[in-house]
């Protein structure tokens, strides 16, 4: 009857979102008086999962590359083996790819973008975001098996103790007619999904040639870079950096918006971020109404100053 959490990894290393999902799973396991089992794929060192309350780890080594159907099938078999009633996943691209397939496989109700531990266990009710963070929706799951997708950076990491006893798990899996041709991923860059800090810039920067200072600021802060919709539509920055309602959602600890006026779609997409800073020449820009801290000023003067001061700050606090 344990709670099962899918703890995601990248090249054998567990991701931060995995520990957050485990923290969330542990809270549910505690409130339902059961244990927490994690499922991992090709993770060499699973012991750290114990720090977040995982009692048992099922590690699968028989699958080489990510495939949503194969992963969903493996998680399904783990859930059946563990007689699981509640499965927890993160909100990563891969988890959101797997979860709906898993839901059909297990006849389970699935609710993504969940931001808190269940409000009720019976009827099982969770709080999720809706309308791109413009609202929350309390949602009941009525099926015996339930799947919860935890919103990134919403529940946070909660340390705990668990044995994280690892066993190899070898489900019998069908072949898939989908295969990976190539993966194009910058290894040295922080992703918007994993970043603690995101530095984002808009049309106020006047042209793609001016992004050097944005990247430098992101470097100093260990941040990911992002941009507004007009900037990606103009081709100044890649689509993958577009954050907002039709782009990526951002739920980071610190979001710095530079030269972004703050269209309602943009504000919705970034509103789950905990602290927002806006730098804009126009004191009337809507972003000032949504931000915690604001600087009315020219990005070309403020940003270089901010970089310089942050370097000093980082050196002193290193």
């Amino acid at each position: 009857m344990s709670v099962l959490v899918y703890t995601e990894s990248d090249k054998g290393i567990l991701k931060k979102a995995a520990f957050e999902a485990a923290s969330y799973g542990k809270a549910i396991a505690d409130s339902t008086g059961t244990s927490l089992t994690a499922i991992t794929f090709n993770v060499s060192d699973t012991s750290k999962l114990g720090d977040y309350g995982v009692d048992k780890v099922l590690n699968i080594e028989s699958i080489d590359e990510f495939n949503a159907f194969v992963y969903a099938d493996a998680i399904k078999q783990a859930a059946e083996k563990e007689n699981t009633a509640i499965i927890v996943l993160s909100s990563s691209a891969d988890s959101k790819y797997i979860a709906p397939i898993l839901a059909i496989g297990l006849n389970a109700g699935y609710v993504p973008n969940v931001v808190e531990t269940p409000k009720n266990l019976s009827p099982f009710t969770v709080k999720r975001t809706a309308f791109t963070n413009k609202a929350f929706c309390y949602t009941e799951i009525s099926t015996p098996v339930k799947i919860v997708g935890v919103s990134n950076n919403s529940y946070g990491l909660v340390e705990n103790t668990g044995a994280a006893q690892t066993e190899n798990f070898s489900p019998i899996l069908a072949e898939s007619s989908t295969s990976v041709v190539s993966v194009d991923k910058a290894n040295d860059k922080v992703t918007i999904a994993d970043a603690e800090v995101v530095v984002s810039a808009g049309r106020g920067l006047k042209g793609p040639e001016n992004w050097e200072m944005i990247e430098e600021l992101a470097d100093v802060l260990g941040a990911a870079t992002a941009c507004s919709k007009p900037v990606s539509d103009l081709g100044w920055r890649p689509h993958s950096e577009h954050v907002g309602q039709t782009g990526k959602p951002v739920a980071t600890n610190l979001y710095i918006a530079i030269g972004i006026s703050g269209a309602i779609q943009h504000l919705a997409g970034v509103s789950a971020s905990k602290v927002k800073v806006v730098i804009n020449t126009d004191a009337e820009a809507p972003f000032f109404k949504a931000a915690d801290y604001g600087v009315v000023g020219d990005a070309f003067e403020v940003v270089p100053k901010l970089i310089e001061k942050l370097k000093v700050f980082k050196a002193e606090n290193a």
Binding site: I101, A108, C137, G247, A290
Partner: protein
């Protein structure tokens, strides 16, 4: 000789099949992105008063990519929406953009699973080669319908899809992953969860007068389905707590900003 004839027959059959790829584009009728979101009936219902509805942007990127297959590869496009008669304006817009026929499943659906089941019923009967849906709708952001649909149809599935090419029965699709992209090779039948990148924003089409006139003559079939079961239900809504006023820092006092971020907000 007989074998050669048979081969010719088979190859011409395959050729016809390729030339007539059948595409189903799933359209969600959603509040415009600029909408203010409000609730009624004690915060249990979405308040559609004064809300403009549009084609879900992710679906529109998919429809536009489907138009490319229609124009370059002679595909046919059906569009489908699950909902009440109010969704027909959105379906007519899709017809005006260039879809060949529209289907409205006349049902009110409590969750994504219920939507996916209705879509699967129609998709099975229509034997579509390719089903394109948006990676998520911008109202409930569930992102579950395309994946559930694929699982129910036993079809291949690629979501967060930013590029799609089809050659014969083989598809090459690129999906966005956290921090990059991944290109997959897969086979039809295929379900796609599409998004921006599948086509560019500048490729989106505004229906012209001719398209609008032609759309009136295109078939829009209404199906009255048996009700199906759902797994989840939205009980109530809540708006985020309003935040305090912004703290302004002078542009020449960046030290203060760093101080606030470090000591007050504790984020650096």
């Amino acid at each position: 000789m007989c074998d050669v004839f048979y081969l010719l027959l088979v190859s011409s059959f395959i050729r016809i099949k390729i030339l007539n790829m059948k595409i189903l584009v799933c359209i969600s009728h959603v509040p415009d992105t600029t909408s203010k979101i409000n609730f009624s009936e004690g915060d249990t219902k979405f308040d559609s008063n004064g809300v403009q509805y549009v084609i879900n942007p992710n679906d529109e990127f998919g429809l536009t990519r489907a138009m490319w297959f229609k124009e370059k590869q002679n595909a046919s496009i059906d569009v489908i929406s699950v909902g009440g008669s109010e969704t027909e304006t959105t379906l007519r817009k899709a017809l005006a953009i260039g879809a060949d026929a529209a289907i409205r499943v006349n049902a009110s659906t409590p969750d994504g699973l219920s939507v996916a089941k209705h879509l699967a019923d129609v998709a099975k009967k229509g034997s579509y080669d390719l089903v394109i849906a948006g990676r998520e709708s911008i109202d409930y952001n569930g992102g579950m319908v395309p994946g559930m649909l694929a699982a129910m149809l036993n079809a291949n599935f690629v979501t967060n899809c930013i590029s799609l090419e089809i050659e014969g029965t083989t598809a090459t699709a690129t999906r966005e992953i956290d921090g990059g992209k991944e290109t997959l090779s897969t086979l039809l039948p295929l379900v796609i969860g599409g998004q921006k990148g599948l086509v560019e924003e500048s490729d989106l089409r505004i229906p012209n007068m001719r398209g609008i006139m032609m759309a009136r003559k295109k078939p829009l079939t209404v199906i009255d389905p048996e009700p199906n079961s759902s797994a989840t239900k939205s009980v109530s809504f809540e708006k985020p707590a309003s935040r305090g006023d912004v703290k302004l820092v002078e542009a020449d006092n960046i030290d203060e900003l760093i101080n606030l971020l470090h000591n007050e907000a504790k984020v650096i």
